[in-house]
Amino acid sequence: MRRLFLIAVLVALGLGGLLAVASPPPGEYQIKAAYLLNFARYMEWPASRLPGGAALRLCVLGRDPFGGALTSLDGRQVNGHEVRVRSADSLELAMECHIVFVSDSEERRMGLILRGLALRGVLTVSDIDGFAEAGGSIGLVTEDERVRFDINQASLQRDSLRASSQLLRLGRNVIGTKGP
């Protein structure tokens, strides 16, 4: 019994070492980073929130799952705004951002975060299951090995954000629309 235990511990350490060498294939989050840039392109903020020529702040709340794919977007130009990527260490800092990607490490605090960011002109995006259903602006969903997105039109309207018709047309589900 004791010997078995020892063997198991050794196996565990060996496996851990092996895995530490291997790093994950980044495909999915590269695509998600590209989506974030596109959302910036196809979304319109009130001028009071994002004056012409001002920097567009794109923030990650929680653990950064992008592995560099997002920071590489820093400095790009979108509709005359320079994109600034940064990580938001707290909800207060996230309130300053224009787009907040809520990492799935924050799932337990999702309700709290959505409440905190409501009515502040923040576009919230996440791949947490049921994010758009729960009141987030855009939920990224992986379906049939493709990344799609759900849009919560009601939360966008509440935050005075305007999604282009192209964005609405390509969304998998548009939640909270009552006719045209």
């Binding site: 019994m1 078995l4 235990f5 198991a8 511990v9 196996v11 565990a12 496996l15 851990g16 895995l19 291997a22 790093s23 994950p24 294939p25 980044p26 495909g27 999915e28 989050y29 590269q30 695509i31 980073a33 590209a34 989506y35 596109n38 950064d64 799952p65 592995g67 560099g68 794919a69 590489s72 977007l73 707290s90 909800l91 490490s105 799932e107 337990r108 605090r109 309700g111 709290l112 959505l114 409440r115 905190g116 409501a118 791949d127 299951d129 049921g130 259903e133 729960a134 009141g135 992986t142 493709r146 990344v147 997105f149 919560n152 009601a154 192209q166 964005l167 390509l170 909270g176 009552k178």
Partner: protein, 674 residues
């Protein structure tokens, strides 16, 4: 249009190549139309959502459950490290987390959408009465180790949380039909409705007759389990920040098994025993913003009725109210607190020599409060969680249940955590009030009686106290982004476990049908007299090998030792606990995507021998072939236990049930969504 990025995406295993692509970020120039049509090289698993928690947590997603070929909750849990699942018979399961268990794993809390299905009658879950519609389960969370600070008493060894999908995501229709090799069918139907401006509703019904087990000869069937359940769930539209949910369910199930009575002087044999279960429940929940934070209130009513042949019947009615408040983080602190109150009323009619419960009517009140503080010691690196639950119950002493957890996250992918917790388990009605005939024990030749009846009763003057557990855990988690590796070492020290001591012989006798037509009674007096320690290691691995091949493996090794006692009955109880689960077990699941919606799953399971009931070790091989024919129809063919004609997984320790063997099985399942 040529796609320069394709090459990057097609090489998910060549990490270096992929990393080069990441630097260039060519994807960023794609338009939305191109993005929605782009295939993802490797899809990460959305299962490790609770991975930020300093606890041993496994989350089974709907996809995990589907690929496992499971048709019941216990089957779905087979691949979770630290969880020992053994089939006792048709619909009857022994599910234990970290050992010290049995048919009624009395230290495990099981909840469906926040409603406890733990029965206060026998301190456990009647798995045979629980038939969940797995198609509408969103996830199953398994928390190993004491979860008392958040989930309450009885969450001693672990918590299993079954979470069903919101009605807002099940707006369509679903028909699921399942036919097994014995010709028995399981059918489930669900219909979703859009409630304009309010939210969504789904109603469902499921009927099933489960496959039967075999006797040791491999031919004759020995048990039955059949019944139905139906219910609804309603969720508010998800546009606002406030959310509400209302759901109700009703079920009826019948389970028949054989009781084996000890053969003494030609007397004995098999006695069919029929259990009937009925129940209904209604649960409501509301979430809203409170003082910058988030609050939720949940209430439920639950009614259960059970009948055990002619030996007894009982009803349990429960009303439960819970309040939780997550405060807005302030400085380094993130606090959560809550209050709970539960009222339970039981009425049991059982006055035979086999089972007697006095008094027949009882009421319990439990008031509880919990508080938890997550303190960030060093941002992103060190986190300390302190929590405690305080419970006042009308049946046991005040039981504080504290926990302290420290987590160190040196890199983005690695985390190491350690915890100490104390948990308590309230005695059940069966334990505090019942007089149960455990069986007849043959006497040595020459005795004046062929057998003595072993009867368990509450010890004279015994005031039942809660059982106590002190648990130490050390865990390591490596996040592979696309997969994960986890190792947890635990040491559990149980005190005041309820077991028996040798009592008096007589008064009273039990009638038997052989000369001299009665057997004297050897009483066993129950008390909080036993102690057990268990130590173990749990390993879990989820490894994406290529885009189309994934390996999931688990291994658990565990050692249980009971405290020595001079009393032979206490010693026997300790031995039973030591041998109630295997010393080690392992699972390996190979998931292969064959392309064009076809998938293959190969599941290997090796279970060590179980001393109690002399259950030998076994290896089982299951195979699943799934085919998503189109967007609305999905077909699966599953073969279980392929290379072993018959094996035994568990012998019930509660009633002396006839050992039920599991044969080779197969089934076909079709699921239509429209």
């Amino acid at each position: 249009m040529p796609h320069p990025y394709r090459a990057c995406l097609l090489l998910p295993v060549l990490w270096q190549a992929a990393a080069v692509c990441a630097d260039e970020a060519p994807l960023a120039d794609l338009t939305l139309e191109e993005l929605v049509r782009l295939d993802v090289a490797a899809v990460s698993r959305k299962a490790q959502k609770l991975s930020e928690m300093p606890a041993a947590v496994t989350v089974l997603s709907a996809e995990d459950i589907r690929r496992s070929g499971a048709r019941s909750v216990p089957e779905a849990l087979r691949e979770v490290p630290g969880v020992n699942v053994a089939q006792i018979g048709g619909g009857r399961w022994a599910v234990g987390v970290r050992g010290v268990e049995g048919r009624f794993s009395n230290k495990l809390l099981v909840q469906i959408d926040g409603r406890s299905v733990y029965s206060p009658l026998f301190s456990g879950v009647f798995w045979e009465a629980l038939d969940v519609m797995l198609e509408d389960v969103e996830r199953i969370e398994v928390i190993r180790g004491p979860g008392a600070s958040l989930w309450g008493a009885n969450a001693v060894n672990g918590v299993i949380n079954i979470v069903t999908r919101k009605a807002t995501v099940t707006r369509g229709s679903l028909v699921s039909a399942n036919l097994d090799d014995q010709g028995r069918a399981v059918t489930a139907v669900r219909q979703g409705f859009d409630l304009e401006g309010i939210g969504a509703l789904r109603v469902y019904a499921k009927g099933s007759e489960l496959e039967r087990s075999r006797a040791a000869d491999g031919k004759s069937d020995l048990d039955r389990n059949y019944g139905w359940n139906t219910g609804f769930r309603m969720d508010g539209a998800g546009s606002g920040v406030d959310a509400w949910m209302l759901q109700g369910s009703s079920y009826r199930r019948t389970s028949v098994e054989n009781i084996q009575t000890a053969a003494a002087a030609g007397y004995g044999g098999l006695l069919p025993l029929q259990f009937e279960f009925e129940g209904s429940s209604l649960t409501g929940r509301y979430n809203w913003g409170l003082a910058g934070g988030e609050a939720s209130v949940q209430a439920y009513l639950d009614h259960q009725w059970a009948n055990v042949a002619a030996y007894g019947k009982g009803t349990v009615n429960t009303a439960d109210l819970d309040f939780q408040h997550r405060l807005v983080p302030s400085g380094r602190h993130e606090m959560m607190w809550g209050l709970g109150s539960r009222y339970t009323q039981t009425e049991i009619e059982a006055t035979t020599a086999v089972l007697g419960i006095t008094p027949p009517r009882r009421q319990f009140r439990v008031m509880s409060a919990f508080v938890q503080d997550e303190i960030t010691l060093v941002p992103q690196t060190w986190k300390l969680t302190l929590g405690g639950r305080f419970e006042y119950s009308s049946t046991s002493h005040f039981e504080p249940q504290p926990t302290a957890r420290l987590m160190w996250t040196p890199t983005l992918a690695d985390s190491l955590w350690a915890s100490w917790s104390r948990a308590a388990r309230t005695p059940s009605i069966g334990e505090s009030d019942a007089t149960i005939l455990f069986g007849l024990q043959a006497t040595p030749p020459g005795s004046p009686f062929p057998a003595v009846a072993m009867v368990s009763q509450p010890g004279a003057g015994w005031r039942p106290r809660a059982e106590r557990l002190d648990a130490l855990e050390l865990g390591y988690r490596h996040n592979l982004g696309n997969g994960s590796f986890e190792a947890v070492v635990f040491h559990h020290d149980y005190r005041r476990l309820i077991s028996g001591t040798t009592g008096a012989i007589g008064p009273g006798v039990v009638p038997i049908p052989v000369v001299p037509y009665y057997a004297p009674i050897q009483y066993m007096n129950r008390g909080n007299v036993s102690g057990v320690r268990s130590t173990g290691l749990e390993l879990g691995l989820d490894l994406p090998v290529t885009a189309n091949l994934r390996l999931q493996a688990s291994y658990t090794v565990m050692d249980t030792a009971a405290r020595r006692s001079t009393d032979p009955i206490t010693t026997a109880f300790g031995r039973a606990l030591e041998t109630s689960s295997p010393h080690h077990w392992a699972t390996l699941h190979t998931l292969i995507n064959l392309g064009r919606g076809r998938e293959l799953d190969l599941m290997l399971r090796r279970m060590g021998a179980i001393g109690q009931g002399d259950v030998p070790a076994y290896t089982s091989v299951d195979l699943r072939y799934g085919w998503r024919v189109n967007r609305s129809f999905e077909l699966a063919v599953v073969g279980q236990n392929l290379f072993d004609p018959l094996h035994l997984e568990y012998v019930s320790n509660f009633f002396p049930g006839q050992p039920a063997y599991q044969p080779r099985r197969g089934y076909v399942q079709g699921v239509w969504r429209f």
